[in-house]
Every structure is written in structure tokens, then in C-alpha cells.
Point group: C2
Chain length 254, copies 2
């Protein structure tokens, strides 16, 4: 009913190297699994804690999985400790294939969010959720940005991971230059730019946000077509990167 191989496989996917090797990741929770089943993601398996199969939300997702012909496995209470990623297991998870994304897949003439050295999985997940809300679905990540398929990141997307396309660069400055040659403008957000109000909405543009401690690296800063700032009125020294990204995305979207 719950193959040992599958249990081991899920356990492995908690580690970045195996997520990369298998090009898979785990989505936990009713909402995440439901959105994944309704998205373009390829789902390898759905796992449900057997004792919870009759719960209203969970049984709805099981029915959905069966409708789209996904395998549903039922595990025992004693398997949960091996497969869950957080303190509490929400009763259901799915194994999904990562989208195979090249630079050309994210450069389709729509705005791109570029994260340069963002290390906190909660921040990247929140940024993806916010981007999805505003209809922005293309991400370019620097080599040192946290894995967006990290479980905490996936949880923070609240299902939006199923709708964003992410290209992880091996050389962020090089990727940005390629996109510039392709007609994209690079807009860097930092503490010393023009006021955000002056930023006009455009299509072929990459908005670059730096990580929690260092901000945008000099190499990228040097490439910027322009630099904007969220003006400070009060006392805080900086803004959280997920907050900055949200303010900029709302500015260009609304």
C-alpha cells in the first residue's frame, strides 16, 4: 500500500542534491497539492495519511487526483515522521517534477523578477506568491539564491510554485547581459536610486532585488539601465526583500 522505495525517495527529496538529481520536489498540504494537480506541473505521486482520507478537503483532492489519473498512495501514521518536512504533517503531499526552464523560457517579452543572493526560503516563497498575485510568472535567480524547491520556500508560495517559471543562472551578470541584448532593460532596486514613483510600467524589463545582507552585487549594479528606490520616510534602516519586491510589483501592476 505504501512502498518502502517511495518512502525512501520522499525522504531523499528533503535534500537539495536529490531534488536536483531527480529534478523533483515535494508539495505539502491540501491547497498546494490541489493547485499542483490543476497546473501544468507533472505530478509523480500523491501521498495521503490513510487515517485522514475521509477528511472533507483531503477526500476532495483524492477525487481530483483520481480524475486526472494520478497514483494516490496511503501511508500509515508511523510513516509520517519519515516523509514530512515540517513539525506537523498536513495529511497530504505530492511529488512533482520541476519545470525544465531555460533562459529563453523566461524571456517571452514579459517582466522578469531577478533575485540576486536571496538566502531566506520564506522570502523567496513569499515573493513568488506575491508575483503570482500580480500576474508575474518569470524568475531569474542568481547562483547563490536559495533553492526555490526547498520545502519551506514551496510552503511559503502557498501553491504559487505551480505557476511560476524559474531559471537558475550559473552566472547572473552573464544572464542579464544576454537578456539586455535581447531588448530587456535591467532595473536595480536599492537604497540610492530614483524614487519609485518615477518608475514606469514596461514589458521587457528585469527587476533586480538583492539579498538580505549584501544587496545587489556590484557586477550587476554596473549593468543596470536604471536604479530605483522605495523612498524612506521614517526610521528603519532597510526593508525586508519580500516587502520591497511586493511594493515594486504593486507599483508596476496597479
Amino acid at each position: 500500500m505504501f512502498p518502502n522505495d517511495l518512502k525512501k525517495h520522499i525522504h531523499k527529496l528533503h535534500q537539495k542534491k536529490y531534488r536536483k538529481e531527480f529534478s523533483e520536489f515535494i508539495i505539502e498540504g491540501v491547497k498546494g497539492v490541489e493547485e499542483a494537480l490543476n497546473s501544468d506541473l507533472e505530478i509523480e505521486a500523491v501521498v495521503v495519511e490513510g487515517s485522514r482520507r475521509e477528511e472533507k478537503d483531503i477526500s476532495r483532492v483524492i477525487a481530483l487526483a483520481e480524475r486526472v489519473r494520478e497514483d494516490v498512495f496511503f501511508c500509515g501514521r508511523n510513516d509520517v515522521d519519515t516523509i514530512k518536512s515540517a513539525d506537523t504533517f498536513p495529511g497530504i503531499l505530492a511529488i512533482a517534477r520541476q519545470y525544465e526552464v531555460g533562459l529563453h523560457d523566461i524571456s517571452i517579452g514579459e517582466p522578469i523578477i531577478c533575485l540576486d543572493g536571496v538566502r531566506d526560503p520564506g522570502n523567496i516563497g513569499t515573493i513568488m506568491r506575491t508575483a503570482d498575485w500580480f500576474g508575474i510568472h518569470h524568475f531569474l535567480l542568481s547562483e547563490d539564491t536559495v533553492d526555490p524547491y526547498n520545502e519551506k520556500a514551496v510552503r511559503s508560495t502557498m501553491g504559487s510554485i505551480a505557476r511560476v517559471k524559474t531559471f537558475k543562472s550559473t552566472g547572473i551578470a552573464h544572464s542579464l547581459e544576454k537578456l539586455q541584448k535581447n531588448g530587456y532593460s535591467v532595473i536595480v532596486l536599492d537604497l540610492n536610486g530614483k524614487p519609485l514613483k518615477a518608475l514606469k510600467k514596461r514589458k521587457k524589463v528585469i527587476y533586480v532585488f538583492g539579498g538580505e545582507s549584501q544587496g545587489v552585487r556590484d557586477e550587476v549594479r554596473a549593468l543596470a539601465d536604471s536604479t530605483y528606490t522605495i523612498p524612506k520616510i521614517g526610521g528603519a534602516e532597510s526593508l525586508n526583500v519580500a516587502v520591497s519586491a511586493a511594493i515594486v510589483m504593486s507599483h508596476i501592476s496597479l
Copy 2:
């Protein structure tokens, strides 16, 4: 050099009931302690891990503490496990008195941020940091909102805890009604209001944000003078509350 009483006292302050009993809280880290020493907060003591007293940032804060005549205690490496709140101790902490804040202290004719049932300490801390950035310093918290003096919340404020005044209500609807009688408008942010763009900047206004799961309670919703929404363009089902608050605060501030 490092009194046992002080060690026990710091340990107690990790718990909400003692923070309330003593009306104190802990601020960790160079930045937080430095901002606290430069603020109106009353500091009871500064504690430094002795072996780190020569570090540049830490020695600067020690000098500042001595200048403003605060007691500085040095603890040993073996004390750290008892007094730290996170996995890693940043080498310095301060015990600060909580501001004594009544409803009249936050109703001075400036905008107020009201949080109704926000449970995540990271969210409340981030909201306070963002508010401080935009020069908004008055908070009204519902009875079931997380303690803003919780250590994770304090850390997430990145020092802004020293500059915000917070009134914790024992009956949020009643507090809002009192403020309305005093000339304040209650603006609720939720998923079914007028578009944010239509929201005009005003002084005597309370912006109400609901918690992560339930949103704004019906009792408060019934009091609203008006309701606004951050329009959704893409797919996500909701926004993180710290993100919503940031978007609204930037809209009314910039």
C-alpha cells in the same frame, strides 16, 4: 561578573507570561541593541559575550552603552545557551522595558495600523519594520494577535521595535469604536473592497489587516467606514499579511 540572578531573569523573559509580569523584553544583536540605546526605550541592562567584547561592532555598542550610563555585563560562553533565544547568539543583548501605552497614546491624529488576529511573529515584526520605514509608528493589536515582544517578532523588526508604540486591546471592536468616536475612520483591507487606487491618504485613519487564516473578524468588518482590496491580476489565492500591509503603507505614504 555575570550574576546568576540576571541569567535566570533573562531566561524567564523568553516566556510571554514573564515578559508581561516584568513589562520587559529582550533585544538581541548589534543593530537592535544600538537602536534601542539610541531610542526612548528604557534599557535595564546590556549583556555581552565576554570573548567577543573586542569585535568592532560590539565594542562600539559597549562604548555607546557606557556613554548613556547603562550597565554592561559580560557573560561566559557557557552562559550563552541559557540566555540566547535563537540557534546562534549574536554576542550581545539588551533587556528593555516595554513602553506603557494606552489607547490615547496611539490616537494622536496620525494613521494607526490595526492587526486583527495576526499570529505569526515574523509577520508582525516585518510589518513594524515596514511601518517604521514609512514613518508610521502607532499600532493597535487585537487580543489574539501575537505578542510583539516575542523574540522572533523583535528580531524581525530589525530594531524598529524601539520606535513603534503598540496598544494591545482587550476588545478590539470596542477599541475601534472608541477611536471612531474620536474622529478616526476605520478602513478594512480584505478581498472584497474598492480597489486600493481609490484609497486617499488621510491622517485620522486606522488600517485594519486580518490574520493569516481568518482575515478580519465580522465584528470589526461591521464597523468599517470603508473596505479596500489590493486587486488581483494573476493566480494566487491571497497575499501574505506583511505583504498586504506593505503595499497599503507604500500606497498611502509615497
